[in-house]
Symmetry: C2
Subunit: 225 residues, 2 copies
DNA sequence: CGGGGTGTTGAAGCCTGTCAACAATTGTGG
DNA sequence: CCACAATTGTTGACAGGCTTCAACACCCCG
């Protein structure tokens, strides 16, 4: 039902902003294909990624409700993006209570994920944080059939992983090295192999319950043309 | 309108759980008075606070939508709590689209705050993180008339501040010492004085825009009996 | 008055950051 | 197809923020 108002389609090249910070967007964006990330830039120049956006994720629905963007969104791979008119969203949500509720649920899920990120950046070691992040991405990609038990395509650079977990790229390199040596992950180019998902989850202290895997929670539009 | 279904009232003593992790709550809770915190306990025993709940904040509305609690909520001071039946919420949200929308907005605001916490725990120094947290609390307390330009009542222990910003209590002590020496904050018992709010905000890299101060965003029920 | 929680301080060590150099990979143009 | 540049990955040495362990001071409350 949502797909009807996301008519416009376009592509955003890797490293380009889908939306820049401060934009009062004229469109609401949806990732059809590819990876993107929410990020903030600090006064000292540092970057913190606060979320990874996977196919099916909405980018900026909150702008339509709250106000202007308090962060930017950058494409981490070439992305296919769908656009919708905020007024259409406005209209559809007022006429379709079930939709509002679904979007509310999506926002609550986002918050649950963010809480885990706070825990990772606050109290987990860098190794555990990365392991936990991999588990999260694995779980979310499973939901949209982009991962299986053996692993998934992970198009992130070490710098991007570092900016997500709040460490330096140098240290991220060592963390990944350690995870490989422990045998928890293997990597062939951009393909991440997880030999033993349960072992990784245990090491990361990962409990998949918080992802609240439900049928139609995030609007999944990945598969269609 | 919400206040009608939050009929039951009770109190929770400091240090007691309002809701424990894993609970599939029989009630939805609202903080009327006092401070509470969301927290997670890690396998190694560490605690990470992921949010402070102030008067007027809902504790666990997401359970009614998503599932069981993925974290606990503890009272940081003696708290007056209001209770509502999830089914009443259910009914009221389906019959009152505006309410669903307001709750959706509240969830989006929570996410915006959480993103700042991720940034604080990831890329800000401990001093900046604490300064930013104080700015956030100041802004939120202003919304519910519990703070003025000169400062506010801050009933947190150093341990609780440490668990929020992801440092040890020992280090939090040094951080606060530094903030006092710099003249950015002053403390008289549990009263926090901010001599120069703008100076503190500048030091913390704090931009109040993300709090999206709107009239009736979080249901404000603090003032009533 | 005593005891538990909270705040404070010091010393030593580790995780992570910083700086720097170089290797490997990818992309581009001739 | 190769050469070149740019990006990304890798490694080492050193420094610093933060942790850990430990002891002690303070304060509220029974």
């Amino acid at each position: 039902m949502l797909e009807q108002i996301f008519k416009e389609r376009g592509t955003v090249e890797r490293k380009r902003d889908v939306i820049s910070m401060g934009d009062s967007t004229r469109f609401v964006h949806l990732v059809l294909d590819g990876w993107a990330a929410r990020y903030k830039i600090l006064p000292n120049g540092g970057r913190q990624i606060t979320a990874f956006l996977l196919p099916g994720d909405l980018c900026d629905i909150h702008v339509a409700i709250l106000g202007s963007m308090d962060h930017g969104i950058v494409a981490l791979t070439d992305c296919r993006i769908a656009y919708a008119d905020p007024q259409d969203i406005e209209r559809l949500t007022t006429t379709t209570p079930g939709l509002t509720r679904a979007l509310w649920g999506a926002a609550l899920l986002d918050a649950a994920i963010l809480r885990q990120w706070v825990v990772s950046n606050g109290r987990r070691s860098a190794v555990d944080a990365v392991a936990h992040l991999i588990c999260e991405l694995h779980g979310r990609l499973m939901m949209v059939r982009l991962a299986d038990d053996s692993g998934f395509h992970l198009p992130l650079t070490q710098e991007e992983l570092a900016d997500a977990t709040g460490v330096t790229t140098v240290h991220m390199n060592r963390v990944l090295h350690q995870l490989r040596q422990t045998g928890l992950i293997e990597r062939d180019q951009k393909t991440l192999v997880v030999p033993d998902v349960q072992a990784l989850r245990k090491a990361a202290g990962f409990d998949i319950a918080y992802l609240h895997l439900m049928k139609s929670d995030p609007p999944r539009c990945a598969g269609n043309a």
